[in-house]
């Protein structure tokens, strides 16, 4: 499977080069060999540290990662060295692909470290509160930093020092998932205690609402201080779904969704930034919107429509018209150049990845691992839904990264660590139960013929 994934990436890379300048890529051995070596290394590590792991998780993620690199390469080369098109953006220098490749390596190192250091996911339970504190800290840092060290394109979600920038929210999500899993496993009986029964729904007791309200307040604070609807939706969605998995009570889901809608409604009326997102979503083509506020969304959607069923082919489209096409809008670049067929395939790969993660959650026995795998898989799916739905006009657009595809180190490394955790849990789930120790001398196995 991994070989297949690497082969697809190789072919895509060649196609992109042919599409751009009609000849084979000059850096062919470089990029692709490094990528293949990284993935083979990951494979060996998985075989070594998690021999029973789900065999699909790594190849699926590798395929997405590789296609992302190819698209970033293609966008980076646009308008350079006589290639057709315009330069994508000033923040996309010729080293972009190299950086993405380096961060793929860092991500894989993260994955290997997870597998090597954590023999069972449930050992993480010991660090429940430590990781909880780390997570909240990571979330809060950009909010308190001055804008020059934290804001890019209006969203205050970065830590920027020198040339290095990190999106701590990506890692905070992982840490908080561990915290929620640990916290909920210990408190789930209390939270699941029957309160009043109204209209066929078990309402929780008022004082048990505490943690939900705290999570809600925290996500609202993210929304207000970091103007990042996507991040806050992911954060809150993660918490509510883990709460639901832990307690199995639908009322938590309803309360959670209700609180989120109410919070969004309130902030939409308070913050012009959030309100504008709704206007863009509802009226992208109205009046002069396509030239101003909804320019990016309209460019992305028109690009996808221009690609049609089969796409223009890698290197033949004009994705460079869409601002931030290398990060938030990379999905539309795939839509334009690989067509409906291509993005359906991508969505199926994403869907498969999420479902394999949930599969591990179902199969693993220990409740902490179950909760963690369920929460992480769901939040991965939700992240894909939020960004892909956003750039295709299904839901209001919020700036979260497209896992594995978007340019950007933080998201890539965090996604690989997430997959590492899922691989670890799937390994625990599929590991055969240890055989009872048998004294071979005493026991004779009788086989009925």
């Amino acid at each position: 499977m991994l070989l297949f994934a690497v082969a697809v990436v190789l072919l895509a890379y060649i196609a992109a080069s042919l599409g751009l300048r009609g000849k084979l890529p000059s850096g062919l051995p470089g990029y692709i060999v490094v990528f293949a070596l990284i993935m083979v290394g990951a494979h060996v590590a998985v075989r070594r540290f998690a021999p029973y792991a789900d065999p699909l998780l790594l190849p699926l993620a590798a395929l997405l990662n590789g296609l992302g690199i190819v698209m970033i390469y293609r966008l980076q080369e646009s308008g350079r060295q006589g290639n057709p098109g315009n330069l994508v953006s000033p923040v996309m220098p010729t080293s972009t692909t190299l950086y993405q490749l380096v961060f793929t390596g860092v991500g894989i190192v993260g994955l290997v470290l997870v597998l090597a250091l954590i023999s069972e996911a449930r050992v993480l339970q010991r660090y429940t509160y430590t990781l909880g504190a780390v997570g909240l800290l990571l979330l809060a840092i950009p909010a308190v930093l001055p804008a020059s060290h934290s804001a890019v394109n209006g969203a205050k979600v970065w830590i920027i020092f020198g040339g290095l920038s990190v999106q701590p929210g990506e890692f905070a999500r992982l840490a908080l998932a561990v915290f929620f899993a640990g916290y909920l496993v210990s408190k789930r009986d209390v939270l699941a205690l029957a309160g009043r029964h109204v209209l066929g729904i078990d309402l929780p007791r008022a004082r048990d609402l505490g943690p939900v309200l705290i999570a809600w307040a925290a996500s609202l604070l993210i929304l207000i201080f970091e103007t990042d609807i996507g991040q806050s939706a992911l954060f809150f969605g993660l918490f509510v779904v883990m709460l639901y998995i832990a307690t199995q009570r639908t009322s938590w889901l309803l309360i959670g969704v209700g609180l989120f809608l109410a919070g969004t409604f309130i902030t939409a009326n308070l913050s012009s930034h959030v309100m504008e997102r709704f206007t863009i979503w509802l009226h992208p083509f109205q009046g002069s919107n396509p030239l101003n506020s909804s320019f990016q969304l309209v460019q992305g959607i028109e690009g996808m429509a221009y690609g049609g069923l089969f796409g223009t082919g890698l290197g033949h489209g004009q994705p460079y018209f869409t601002p931030l096409v290398q990060s938030d809008f990379i999905f539309t670049a795939f839509g334009e150049e690989l067509g409906l067929v291509g993005v359906m395939a991508l969505l199926l790969v994403f869907g498969l990845l999420v479902q394999r993660g949930l599969r591990a959650a179902l199969a693993v026995k220990d409740p902490f691992s179950k909760l963690l795998a369920g929460g992480l898989s769901f939040v991965l799916g939700l992240q894909i839904f939020v960004i892909v739905g956003g750039v295709t006009g299904l839901i209001p657009l919020t700036g979260v990264t497209t896992p594995f595809l978007s340019q950007g180190g933080s998201s890539l490394v965090a996604s690989w660590i997430l997959v590492g955790v899922l691989i670890r849990i799937s390994d625990s789930a599929r590991k055969p139960a240890p055989q009872p120790i048998q004294d071979e001398g005493m026991t004779q196995v009788v086989r009925a013929a």
């Binding site: 460019q299 221009y306 969505l347 369920g374 769901f378 839904f385 892909v388 299904l394």
Partner: protein, 498 residues
């Protein structure tokens, strides 16, 4: 916890199903709509990177390319080229970086190759690595008639004018010219600054060269409207036949006390002529009185039968020619003026041609059209014109009555167009017509517009080959300024056709 996880995994499936449905919607169903969005830069950029379909004129059998796309040397960009730009500009319009007009606009999806009917071809081209190409649009325009029309208008003393020629039996438009006109080649530049400069010049020119007078401007029809008044009178039985006597006083006193007189205050025979005499001498009092007798709604009804009061698409958009229902329009004193093509009557030159075309085709008015056929890049015919009836304007009998009256206009030495469209002037070609000299402007202060509508009748059962409508703005007498233009177009067309 497994029940909850199963439900969450179901929820994830639903989320992904929604995403899949949405990308299908965007990339499968909405593509054409999104491609037509204004400001779609991809479609805009792409339109010059492949060969746009040609526009051809071939109405008389000789096909002439009147718009073509040529590869600019050393680039992979195609530029539009109009071989006889000024002659065909009112038909082709222009295709520029900032906009289109004329056939370029009306048939854009076929010329550009984005029409759904070309999808299969485009897909095959994609697979075989061939270049995408637009379809060619064949027009009904006759190069001979169009060239003659352009020349005649250009040599007419600089008056703004337009002429339209129609094949009455089908509705095919043989010529459609407007003067002053423009050279579309000047607008095909890719240089935005240069384009703006030329475009501004054209837009600011007081002569309005970009205005297509044949389809976009209306003028009072004047006495040519007496064709409608006569048709209504015969059809309603108010007048039995062309020999029926009608009152035609020298001065007609209207119900409101105003007076209607004949042109130059002349008498009309003995004041009680046959309607055919009143027609060929174009007596206003006879038809004014008839109008009052018919009433305004009936006149309007027959004007609609001749194609007025509604917009047309040929497929160029055509503004409606009107007998409008303004406040007080049924006042008989005003109806007398409506009946002779004054008051608020306003028609396009195309409508003038349609008046004659309906009579020439035995009362059946065919829907006018410009596109004969559309030929795909694989030389397969994608679309072929299907002549359609717009309306049965009058019965064949009534059409025959009106035709006999229009014959007298050009063949009776007393007819208004005897000198300019009679047998001597045409070199033996029979033309039946009706002149109009329309007063216009506030208090009729402007120069009169010259109007002429006519047709060549069919002989021995064959269909009438051509009907022509001409309006010369400020040209004076219809017989003097407009009729010779029609005669030249007819001569050129019949000359090329026989």
């Amino acid at each position: 916890m497994n029940r909850a996880i199963l439900r969450i995994s179901l929820a994830c499936l639903v989320l992904f199903a929604l995403l899949l449905l949405n990308v299908n919607y965007v990339q499968g169903f909405e593509t054409t709509k999104l491609a037509d969005e204004p400001h779609n830069v991809r479609v805009f950029d792409a339109q010059f990177t492949y060969q746009r379909g040609a526009i051809l004129a071939g109405g008389d059998g000789t096909e002439v390319k009147i718009a073509d796309s040529r590869l600019i040397k050393g680039t992979d960009v195609y530029q539009r080229y109009y071989p006889d730009g000024k002659i065909y500009a009112p038909v082709t319009g222009y295709d520029t970086i900032y906009g289109k007009s004329g056939i370029e606009q009306a048939e854009n999806s076929l010329l550009a190759g984005t029409d759904p009917r070309l999808t299969v071809h485009n897909f095959t081209a994609l697979l075989t690595g061939k270049q995408k190409q637009g379809a060619a649009v064949d027009l009904t325009i006759s190069p001979a008639a169009q060239t003659a029309a352009y020349t005649a208008l250009t040599n007419d003393g600089g008056h703004a004018a337009a002429v339209v020629a129609i094949q009455p039996s089908t509705g095919a438009i043989l010529a459609l010219a407007s003067y002053p006109t423009f050279n579309p080649n000047a607008l095909t530049t890719f240089n935005g600054t240069q384009f703006d400069k030329i475009d501004n010049q054209l837009l600011r020119d007081p002569a309005q060269p970009l205005l297509n007078r044949a389809t976009q401007e209306t003028y009072p029809p004047g006495s040519s409207f007496k064709i409608i008044t006569s048709s209504a009178a015969f059809s309603t039985g108010k007048v039995a036949n062309p020999s029926t006597l009608v009152p035609a006083p020298t001065v007609l006193t209207l119900p409101n006390g105003n007076h209607l007189i004949n042109d130059g205050g002349e008498t009309c025979f003995d004041g009680n002529p046959q309607i055919i005499q009143a027609f060929y001498q174009s007596c206003n009092t006879a038809f004014g009185a008839l109008g009052i007798k018919l009433t305004a709604p009936v006149l309007r009804n027959y004007s609609s039968q001749f194609g007025m009061n509604k917009p047309l698409s040929i497929p160029l958009p055509v503004v409606p020619s009107v007998l409008p229902e303004v406040k007080g329009w049924t006042d008989p004193s005003l109806t007398a003026f409506s009946a002779i093509g004054q008051f608020n009557d306003a028609v396009t030159p195309l409508q003038e041609a349609m008046f004659s075309a309906a009579i020439a085709n035995h009362g059946t008015l065919q829907y006018p059209y410009l596109v004969q056929q559309v030929v795909g890049p694989g030389l397969s015919t994608i679309e072929r014109a299907q002549p359609a009836t717009l309306s049965q304007a009058v019965s064949p009998t009534v059409a025959g009555y009106v035709q006999s009256m229009m014959y007298q206009v050009t063949h009776n030495p007393g007819g208004t167009a005897y000198a300019t469209a009679g047998p001597q002037a045409t070199g033996g070609i029979t033309i039946d017509g009706k002149t109009g000299t329309a007063q216009n402007g506030i208090s009729n202060g402007n120069l009169n517009d010259a109007v002429f509508t006519c047709f060549v009748p069919g002989t021995n059962g064959s269909a009438s080959p051509i009907a022509v409508g001409v309006i010369v703005q400020g040209g004076g007498f219809g017989a003097d300024a407009a009729a010779p233009i029609a005669v030249q177009v007819i001569k050129a067309y019949l000359g090329a056709h026989s």
